[in-house]
Amino acid sequence: MKHLTFAAGVLCATGAFAQTPELTVYTYDSFVSDWGPGPQIEKAFEATCGCDLKFVTAGDGAALMARIRLEGERTGADVVLGLDTNLTAAARATNLFAPSGVEADYALPIEWSDDTFVPYDWGYFAFVHNTKLEHVPQDFLELARSDLKIIIQDPRSSTPGLGLLLWVKAAYGDQAEQVWKDLADNIVTVTKGWSEAYGLFLEGEADMVLSYTTSPAYHVIAESDTTKEAAAFDEGHYMQIEVAARLASSKQPELAQQFLQFITTDAFQSVIPTTNWMYPAVMPEGGLPEGFNDLVEPRNSLLIPEAEAEAVRDTALAEWLSALSQ
């Protein structure tokens, strides 16, 4: 342990003491990477708040939630950004979060009236494929009947994986297990996270991969590559809404509230589409960037209400495991 303390001393000695108030925002890792929204948002907020915005990261949304629960009331976070609608029930139950006091004109496909969680972006899960793929399936049943190969993520370790689980459950209810059984021979493999799955798809390991309807926009905007497309499914598409909330234990409640309000402004929202590759929760003044307009628009949006999500999730996981373990 001697080495540890020594190394810590060396590291700490170089840190300067901040005079300005500091706002600590916990978020998932890809949000703050140099290619994510973090750096631009930090700059924009610091220009108005007279404070130091400090991002702290933890894996993904579920890891973030686990971190907050590990820390409990002693958490150093003022704001948590990066939970989604599958985690809000558990987050609410901890009683660690305070009302946001934010009202905005959201551009969500559903009504949003939550007093604690502020949505900052959203998207639809979808299967992405190459445009040259023939006979693109129109729904899960057609996919199951086809010879197409898909790669999905494990719901136990991945957010999109969990999204797909709830998507099938929301669309098929009691028939969900049978749908999974029929899909079993289409599934090449199940990966730990989104990156593995998408990487394998790009390498040509499968015809389709579970991702978002917005994924093709990345290829169009960043790579001028128009060969990727998301398949529109007739059942509708399951939504992911990503939210932020402030902690009741925060020592900077005003600043935290100011940040939550900032989330709904143009300065935040206009950064989202081309950095987080999701739809903005509030439509920025300039509208959506070119490349987002040609994306598939699901006929209807599926979302299991928060109160039922946990129970549905457990049943759906048990069905998924039993259908795919045979």
Binding site: R69, K192, L202
Partner: protein, 515 residues
């Protein structure tokens, strides 16, 4: 303890081993104590345990069984580029998992090179996904390590034995029976236990190559308990199951390992007079070629994918390189500070080596969460991200280092301790004048492995990172998460180059300085 100077002191090693065990167990207990709910082990957990043990046992078995002929071929042949080949063979072991999986599937996947070749030959494609895929991937990771460790066993047979065998007219078969088989009976069980332990905590590889939830390992069940259910009690319980399994395997290995050795030689260069028939030459050449092809093809795939992105990497990748090199350096020094005393103690008390295995046995997720819980009340875990990463990486490399160092330390202590005692040399003098110079090749190998492992490991940095201090593996994940697969492949190739260079520098340094 005794009167007069003692050439070997065991207490520093015992203290270091106790420290390692204490850190691991404290992390586990910290998680268990925070438990609120805590369900026991269900039917799903038991099937995860069964699958984990099965795939780990098969992986260990195949890795060692295949490593023996390859190591024998390498031991009795010398050819240009042999040193380079041995260094490159170490590369799969030190790759970040996600990179290795993508490389493996480029070769063995549905649309991979192998199936393209089979297609050309008019044969039906083979599917990699399933238990055989998991074992294949684990053999890919661990065959090189097993080969190196077993090759080391061959090199520890004194040259005089081969000379005597040649004079007595012993052929390959007699040499196998008299020299090689007894050597393997001492080394192979330990190597198998080590690989079994590594494969026990496998998760992403097992899931992806296993083709779905059939391939659920204990580590995935821990993930589920931690993330899905936030059931810390169950996470800790499952982590404990991993520890028990690892220690059981290690104890079993220790039990079946043959004792004794070949005694001392005069440190001559080993010359071989056996196995000179054309048939055996062709056999060895074929074995070496097959192993090289199996291990290098996925590396070539990674290199081919990475080259386009390598030349215009974002500058953050270079920053991450610096961080990774720094962490690897600190981690390597830490490792040597722990491993040398423990290896010395283990030379006298074999059981001590087991403490080192804990570094592999404890689930990385539980270890990270546990350390987080321990550090959080006293300091900011984020300020300590890099030191903690260096420490954890050192702990993970410890079992490998001990496997490398302990046999040689034991041999040197057996051989020179009495003379040193007669000369009233003292522990420090013995360490400095006898052990350090004579163990340089092993120290170099262990240091190289630790440096490379630390460079490639995502480890706990993902749990502790703050945005500014990303290591290279973390930066690769970030690039992938931002859809930048080409840049990620480039960064992965850079990581591969860095890891192999670090390994090569340490390994070569040790061998060249050897007396």
């Amino acid at each position: 303890m005794a009167f007069g100077a003692q050439p070997v002191r065991t207490w520093p090693g015992l203290a270091a081993a106790a420290l390692v065990a204490a850190v691991m167990l404290a992390a586990l207990v910290a998680v268990a104590l925070r438990a609120e709910t805590g369900a026991g082990l269900g039917a799903q957990d038991w099937s995860a345990i069964r699958f984990t043990v099965l795939q780990a046992a098969l992986s260990a078995l195949f890795s060692v069984a295949l490593a023996i002929p390859v190591a024998r071929a390498l031991a009795r042949r010398s050819f240009p580029g042999r040193g380079l080949l041995i260094t490159l063979l170490g590369a799969p072991f030190i790759l970040p998992v996600i990179v290795a999986v993508l490389g493996l599937l480029t070769v063995f996947g549905r649309g991979g090179w192998l199936n393209a070749l089979l297609g050309l030959a008019g044969l039906p494609p083979v599917s990699i996904y399933g238990l055989h895929g998991v074992v294949l991937a684990h053999v890919f990771f661990n065959l090189p390590l097993a080969t190196r460790l077993i090759l080391q066993g061959w090199q520890e047979i004194p040259a005089e034995r081969f000379r005597l065998a040649a004079q007595l007219g012993a052929g390959p078969r007699e040499i196998w029976r008299l020299l090689e088989r007894p050597m393997l009976a001492r080394t192979a069980p330990g190597v198998a236990a080590l690989i079994f332990a590594i494969c026990l905590t496998s998760f992403a590889v097992a899931l992806t190559l296993g083709g779905g939830p059939k391939a659920t390992t204990i580590e995935l069940a821990i993930y589920q308990a931690f993330r899905f259910d936030f059931d810390l009690g169950r996470s800790a319980l499952l982590a404990l199951v991993q520890i028990v399994l690892t220690l059981a395997a290690a104890t079993l290995a220790l039990g079946v390992s043959a004792r004794g050795g070949f005694g001392a030689g005069l440190d001559r260069v080993v010359q071989r007079w056996d196995a000179r028939t054309p048939g055996l030459r062709a056999l060895d050449a074929g074995l070496i070629l097959a192993a090289a092809l199996f291990l290098l093809a996925p590396l070539a795939a990674i290199a081919a994918a990475g080259l386009p992105g390598l030349l215009h990497l974002p500058e953050q990748v270079y920053m991450a390189c610096l961080v990774s090199v720094f962490v690897a350096a600190v981690s390597t020094i830490l490792l040597l500070c722990l491993a040398l005393p423990i290896a010395l103690a283990a030379a006298r008390m074999p059981l001590v080596e087991q403490a080192g295995l804990l570094g592999l046995a404890v689930s990385p997720l539980v270890l990270g969460a546990g350390l987080f819980l321990l550090i959080n009340p006293v300091a900011s875990p984020f300020a300590l991200a890099l030191p903690v990463t260096a420490l954890v990486n050192a702990l993970m490399a410890l079992p490998f280092a001990l496997r490398i160092l302990t046999p040689k330390a034991r041999e040197e202590v057996d051989r020179h301790a009495r003379l040193a005692a007669t000369l009233n040399m003292g522990a420090w003098g013995f360490f400095r004048l006898v052990l350090l110079p004579r163990m340089r090749p092993q120290i170099g190998f262990a240091a190289g492995l630790a440096a490379a492992l630390s460079m490639g490991d995502l480890g706990v940095i993902a749990l502790f990172a703050d945005p500014e201090t990303a290591t290279l593996p973390l930066q690769i994940y970030r690039l992938m998460a931002a859809y930048r697969m080409e840049a990620a492949s480039g960064a992965a190739l850079l990581l591969l180059i860095l890891s192999v260079t670090a390994f090569w520098l340490c390994d070569r340094g040790g061998r060249h300085a050897a007396p």
